[in-house]
């Protein structure tokens, strides 16, 4: 029997036969995930396909995350369309404020190792951190999956990325992911899976692994799969069943990242692939600092922001707007419970409704014309946040927090100071 990568193993199981990279297969889908952004078109496609029932209402879920809250008649109508569809066909529709689709799936343990998850949101790949195959698709594919319970896929080749050693203080999962992005390139993983491996992963809690898989889509990856190890086993509890690559599985590329040699990084405008050392952009004045999204909006991120801001004196630099958007309601509850929410608010942070927030200019705060944004998000394309004349830098939560206190991008976020 052929030695298989994790992707080949999961897709073999879902196709009901042994498959290898390059094969085109039809697979059974475990979970179909729509959003208020992709959902209305998917519902239209579903009806035009002749759909009159979902293949399994318990395996279809919609999130209202991109327009949270809906601030126009049009976005209200999108939400009404999704709510009435899910009610009619018996699927679950999350509420406004419940959070970003893929984060809610993780919070509620709706995803598990070995699954095939299809979501009409490119960052669905985030869930792959939990040892499963999660892909982002458009509305037509989502509709077909809702109707048939299947998706056709070309089985991808795999790039194995090994993280070795230990990170220094001030180097976050975001920095590691940006280092991988710089190495692999923005299209280096097109049509391919990334498998995360290496002894360095042991020190990455689940939140950090989600960041790695999340940013893999900025490398073009179809899926980005984490290992089943003691950290994930503890998260899964007794029901978790590991999917492991065979010893002789074939990889198209092997990348090794020495964690000890990494320093904090940033993406300069207007592409996530413009990865630079912080030294190269230190001193750039920032006007809006955004902490949130499926990359940098988890409880651990906000706790780090609070710690760094506190170390830096507990105050925002004059003129800096700090916008805070929890990735989900569970994140928000955790921050309320331990006081992080209140303390960041007291420092002048502006909390907005859990969800995608300002990331793609569809809800939350729109940057002012001509300003510079520093963000924990994943994309910094021109006009991405709804303001064509603003420029966006991407960095870790710690870098964002230290820079919010300094009023400019800092070179050494671990010190919480300007240089």
């Amino acid at each position: 029997m052929a030695a298989r990568t994790i992707s080949e193993q999961i897709l073999s199981a879902k196709a009901g036969r042994g498959v290898s990279a390059g094969d085109v297969v039809v697979c059974a889908v475990d979970l179909v995930v729509g959003t208020d952004a992709s959902g209305p078109m998917a519902i239209d496609c579903f009806e035009r396909m002749g759909g009159t029932r979902l293949y399994d209402p318990d395996r279809v879920i919609f999130a209202l995350d991109h327009y949270a809250p809906p601030t126009s008649a049009e976005t209200q109508a999108f939400h009404d369309r999704v709510r009435s569809f899910t009610k009619r066909y018996g699927a679950e529709c999350l509420r406004v404020g419940d959070g970003i689709s893929h984060q809610v799936l993780v919070d509620r343990h709706r995803v598990a190792p070995g699954q095939l998850v299809v979501g009409a949101d490119s960052h669905t790949v985030t869930c792959g951190a939990l040892n499963l195959f999660a892909i982002g698709v458009g509305s037509s594919d989502l509709a077909a999956a809702m109707l048939t319970g299947q998706v056709w896929l070309r089985v991808p080749e795999t790039i194995r990325v090994a993280l070795t050693g230990n990170r220094s203080a001030g180097v976050s999962a975001k920095d590691v992911a940006l280092a991988v992005l710089a190495e692999v390139g923005t299209d280096g993983a097109d049509y391919r899976t990334i498998e995360w491996t290496g002894d360095g992963l042991a020190s990455f809690p689940i939140d950090d692994r989600l960041v790695l898989s999340n940013l893999a889509v900025e490398m073009g990856a179809k899926a980005a799969i984490g290992p089943f190890d003691p950290v994930l086993a503890a998260w899964c509890g007794p029901t978790g069943v590991a999917v492991e690559a065979d010893r002789n599985a074939r990889y198209v590329r092997e990348v090794t990242i020495d964690l000890a040699s990494l320093r904090a990084l940033a993406s300069a405008p207007d592409d996530p692939g413009n990865v630079v050392a912080l030294d190269e952009v230190a001193g750039v004045p920032v006007h809006m600092v955004f902490i949130g999204t499926c990359t940098g909006g988890r409880a651990s991120d906000f706790r780090e922001v609070l710690a760094v801001l506190t170390l830096a004196g507990g105050q925002l630099a004059p003129g800096v707007q700090l916008v805070l958007t929890p990735a989900s309601a569970d994140v928000e509850r955790a921050l309320n419970a331990d006081g992080t929410y209140q303390r960041l608010a007291a420092m002048g942070g502006q909390w907005t409704t859990a969800g995608c927030g300002a990331c793609c200019g569809t809800s939350g705060v729109i940057p002012a014309p001509g300003t510079t944004v520093l963000s924990t998000a994943n994309r910094n394309f021109k006009a991405r946040m709804g303001q064509p004349t603003a420029v966006i830098y991407l960095a870790s939560p710690a870098t964002c927090a230290a820079s919010a206190a300094a009023g400019c991008i800092v070179a050494r976020p671990e010190n919480g100071t300007r240089v």
Partner: protein, 169 residues
């Protein structure tokens, strides 16, 4: 799939992401391509939408359609009158979305193509060629693989599933 398409090159560069094709904030107001087409590629060139003529062929560099998986990136191109998009390489979600809507993606080397060039794209069994009438250079690439060719021939995934009641393959 056999066929011949001739037209004028509308040139864009590398990494034209789906947010550049159509901004998320525009999609927030409507999904109607006839409305959204006025904002097509506005981040690249605010005058682009007004300058499109029948028969124009969009020719891009690497990684066309990267970023968000939003399907309006494909439907707006169709609404604006494009039936073919040529690129050096395509991002996977856009590639699927294009085929799923009957928009033909052609992956061939595009470095020698300039704005305004006349090109001829020909499909034959197994491969596709693009001839640049200005330079005389002909480049080739692989034809659309199955099941994408079957989906495109049906006019997209919706008509395919409606007709066959199942996915291809």
């Amino acid at each position: 799939m056999n066929g011949r398409i001739e037209g004028r090159v509308r040139r864009v560069g590398d990494r034209v992401n789906s947010d550049y094709i159509i901004a998320s904030r525009r999609k927030r107001e409507t999904l109607d391509g006839q409305v959204l087409k006025a904002f097509l590629l506005e981040a690249v060139d605010p005058g682009f939408a007004r300058s499109i003529q029948p028969g124009d062929i969009l020719v891009a560099g690497r990684d066309f359609g990267c970023g968000s998986a939003m399907e309006v990136a494909a439907t707006v191109l169709l609404a604006a009158g494009f039936t073919v998009v040529v690129a050096e390489t395509f991002a996977r979600a856009f590639y699927r979305n294009a085929v799923n809507n009957g928009l033909m993606p052609v992956a061939v080397p595009t470095a020698g193509c300039l704005e305004g060039d006349r090109i001829v794209i020909e499909h034959e069994a197994g491969h596709v060629t693009m001839l640049n009438a200005r330079t005389g250079v002909r480049v080739s690439g692989s034809a659309l693989p199955q099941p994408m060719a079957a989906i495109l021939a049906a006019g997209g995934l919706v008509p395919y599933v409606r007709r066959h009641g199942r996915l291809p393959v």
